[in-house]
Amino acid sequence: MVRLMRRDRASRSAMVAAPLLALGAAVLVSLILFAALGKPAGVALHALLIRPFASWYSFSEVLLKAAPLMLIAQGLAIGFRANVFNIGAEGQFVMGAVAASALPVLGGDPSGPWVMPLMLGAGMAGGLAWAGLAAFARDRFGASEILVTLMQSLIAVQVLNYLLLGPWKDPRGFNFPVSVMFPDAALLPILLPGTRTNVLLVFALLASVLAWVLMRHRLTGFQLLVGGLAPGAARYAGIAPRRAVWLSLGLGGLAAGLAGAGEVMGPLGQLQRSVAAGYGYAAIVVAYVGGLNPLGIVVAAVAISAVYIGGDAATVSAGLPVPAVEVFQGLLLAFYLVAFVLVRYRIARMPGPATRAATPRRGGRPRTFDGPVPSAADGGP
């Protein structure tokens, strides 16, 4: 029987080498795959890996996509560390976009300096309210926030469809399911001249700093961590679990809502069905690839965004089919996760399955990573 044993300490060089090794392995497998497809493997890999960084413009596109990923992931990571699993950032993102769009859609042609803050605020409120429903369900009825937020995402997309196919459809939009184009006052300022990268990137970096301060330097963040790592210790110290639920879902919803507002106020410039492009789900990956660590998430957001931009480029320049690009992205992620586990755990060969009576495994020294073992009750509560 082979088992994973937790290393006493993860080495720093291994932590740096892990992503590089994962990249190397993914490239190797993809080379074979692309060759088998009869596509120019060299061109494809160049598009996938080099192109996102090859020009200032394509890098600015990476940053444009990285901003919402970073913002959402920072919010989610707080909850994940507190054992509150908000899987429905996609829904909160969409509701943020919807709420932010209300003003330009319903308010005629608003102008003035108050338009933008109002819309951003509305976006945050939309995400917060949507996540708040899940927090209420968990707090009041003990409903799993994983299921509730996930199902809410599906509802949010239907709400979006309903609005765009009905009341919010642009009357002069040739019956396309899109809202009116937003006025200039409703668009986020461009951060890097000549590109589409807007100030949402600044908000995302700011959120990263705030997340770092919260988790490293605030008692509240510490208590969230305790709740996630050792619920028994949290109860012992009198840390209320419902506070973690509200705070985690609230911050997650707030960040996702702001990102949703940024999407319609930035690259889209109107409310469209394509706003639900999966940022909320990709951000979960970003949060975990970043090790749920604020700095790691900044790096991961840029890296994963580059993978997406590179994938788009590869379909065009190397004629790769979209599924092949997705396979490459999946390989990269899978190899990364394997490498990441091996940084923290080592593979050990164990003697054959032991008779339970002679070896009751009780929370012993080596932290094993295999499935749950039927634990014999120890007598007494």
């Binding site: 330097h217 008692l219 009198g238 002679a358 014999a376 007598g379």
Partner: protein, 497 residues
């Protein structure tokens, strides 16, 4: 002397930097009861695991019946004839006795039930094969474990601290059973740190200290003091006796607490009342599982009650007050499970200080003051002889005893008005246990109200002014320590009073 059944030569086992067993030689003869004596962390458990095939030695050899063996799994050791009775039982509470046995021993349940009765009769271990395990007392559960081992016909039976869970009255019958096994030619390895029992029962003792064999003696020829000296390598620390003094006002009380445990295998409390005054130590004796955990959780605020005046803390009703607010009102609490409750295993000791001490100047407007956190942690480490590389070490990396010292030290450092401690010296070596008891008494002398929940009767007799016994969720009347004997307390422990 006949050739030994089990023989260890220069057996060495290393865990990272820790040498758990260092060139241990051990001979166990058939028809004898052999004690392995040592403090916590002396290497007793490791040695047992090597014999049982749970771990493999790094060096040295093991001989069985004169032939070299290398048991690589517990199943193999079992086939060889080694049986082990663990300190904490490996029984499923939701199954019956015979079903638990059937998990290990093949056969039809009716046959097994008959064999369980036969084995029980032969060795003086009466047990009902059809009883559900969760209904059994601790002593009965131990009997099930022993019978299950005996049904495999072991030639060597290892018993790990078998008396630690038993009330005093249950110990002599167990010893009679063990002597009966010896007379039938079995070899017994009796692992303990209780000197009296070893002198009573064993004919040979191997004393371990720091992973090495320091002495081999006939325990019947030595005084307890000599054995203790050999075990800890120096004189026993002097006992601090509590000097009687006038207690002050009641700081913590329970008034007629009746609590239905939602856990079907937990214990419910019925009509529990007690009061702890400033300047006294009150003990709660009894075997774990009789409501101790429930009572501790109700006192700490981890479980709140519907009735506010069921719990009074510092003169105010606190039954509906949560754990954090009770701490603010001056309560400190050391739970019996240190890892995962008293401390977060994956966090540093500094962060674990913060866990309960954040109200003591470690924050400013919600911001953490990391420097103060580290300073307070270093002080706790130094004052309580916590052996750790640094304050940044994760709590999970500390040994149980060291973590216990840390959690105790942290709660004492909060200068509480009321301190509730469950099992204050579990897993702690003799010297550290004495130090902890001395600190509890110092706290009491400074006016703190101290409640100690402990399975160790000797400990309660040493430090308590008064004690109650908790049995099946009911609390005995208050017993003044000076007026009662351990046997009196033992009667309450088995509900015979």
């Amino acid at each position: 002397m006949p050739a030994p059944l089990l023989s260890l030569h220069g057996v060495t086992k290393r865990y990272g930097p820790v040498l758990a067993n260092d060139a241990v030689d051990l001979d166990v003869a058939a028809g004898s009861i052999h004690a392995v004596l040592g403090e916590n962390g002396a290497g007793k458990s490791t040695l047992m695991k090597l014999i049982a095939g749970v771990e493999r030695p790094d060096a040295g050899r093991i001989e069985w019946d004169g032939a070299p063996v290398a048991p690589s799994s517990p199943a193999q050791a079992q086939r060889m004839g080694v049986g082990i009775v663990f300190q904490h039982f490996a029984l499923f509470e939701t199954l019956s006795v015979v079903q638990n046995v059937a998990l290990v021993i093949p056969g039809r349940q009716a046959d097994l039930a008959r064999r369980i009765r036969d084995t029980g009769d032969r060795f003086g271990l009466p047990v009902n094969p059809d009883a559900m395990v969760h209904r059994l007392s601790v002593g009965e559960r131990q009997r099930v474990e022993i019978i299950r081992c005996l049904m495999l016909d072991p030639r060597l039976l290892i018993l790990d601290e078998p008396t630690s869970v038993l009330p005093p009255q249950a110990i002599p019958p167990l010893f009679d059973t063990l002597r009966g096994m010896r007379d039938r030619g079995m070899a017994l390895l009796f692992i303990s740190h209780k000197l009296g029992e070893i002198r009573d029962l064993c004919d040979t003792a191997t004393i371990l200290r720091g992973g090495r064999v320091v002495d081999r003696v006939d325990p019947r020829d030595r005084t307890p003091t000599e054995l203790a000296q050999a075990m800890i390598g120096r004189d026993m620390p002097p006992r601090v006796r509590a000097v009687p003094r006038m207690p002050g006002t009641v700081r913590l009380s329970l008034e007629g607490v009746t609590w239905d445990n939602p856990d079907p295998f937990g214990t419910s409390l019925s009509d529990v009342s007690l009061g702890v005054r400033s300047g006294e130590v009150v003990g709660i004796a009894g075997i774990s599982g009789n409501g101790q955990a429930e009572m501790a959780a109700i006192l700490s605020g981890e479980v709140t009650l519907d009735r506010a005046d069921a719990v009074t803390l510092m003169g105010r009703p606190a039954g509906r007050t949560g754990a954090a607010d009770r701490r603010r009102a001056g309560l400190a609490f050391v739970p019996e499970d240190r890892l995962g409750r008293g401390a977060v295993p994956d966090m540093s000791l500094s962060d674990n200080t913060l866990l309960t001490a954040h109200g003591h100047g470690l924050t400013w407007r919600g911001f953490l003051r990391h420097a103060r956190e580290r300073a307070m942690t270093s002080a706790i480490i130094a004052n309580n002889d916590v052996r750790t590389p640094s304050a940044a070490t994760e709590a999970g990396a500390l040994s149980g005893g060291n973590l216990q010292k840390f959690v105790m030290g942290r709660e004492i450092a909060l200068a509480p008005d009321v301190l509730v401690v469950a099992q204050p010296t579990w897993g702690v070596d003799v010297a550290a246990a004495a130090a902890i008891r001395a600190r509890l008494i110092a706290l009491r002398d400074a006016g703190c109200a101290v409640l100690v929940i402990s399975e160790e009767i000797e400990e309660l007799f040493e430090i308590c002014d008064r004690m109650h016994v908790l049995h099946h969720g009911r609390l005995s009347p208050s017993l003044t320590t000076a007026d009662v004997t351990p046997t009196d307390v033992g009667r309450h422990m088995i509900g015979a009073a």
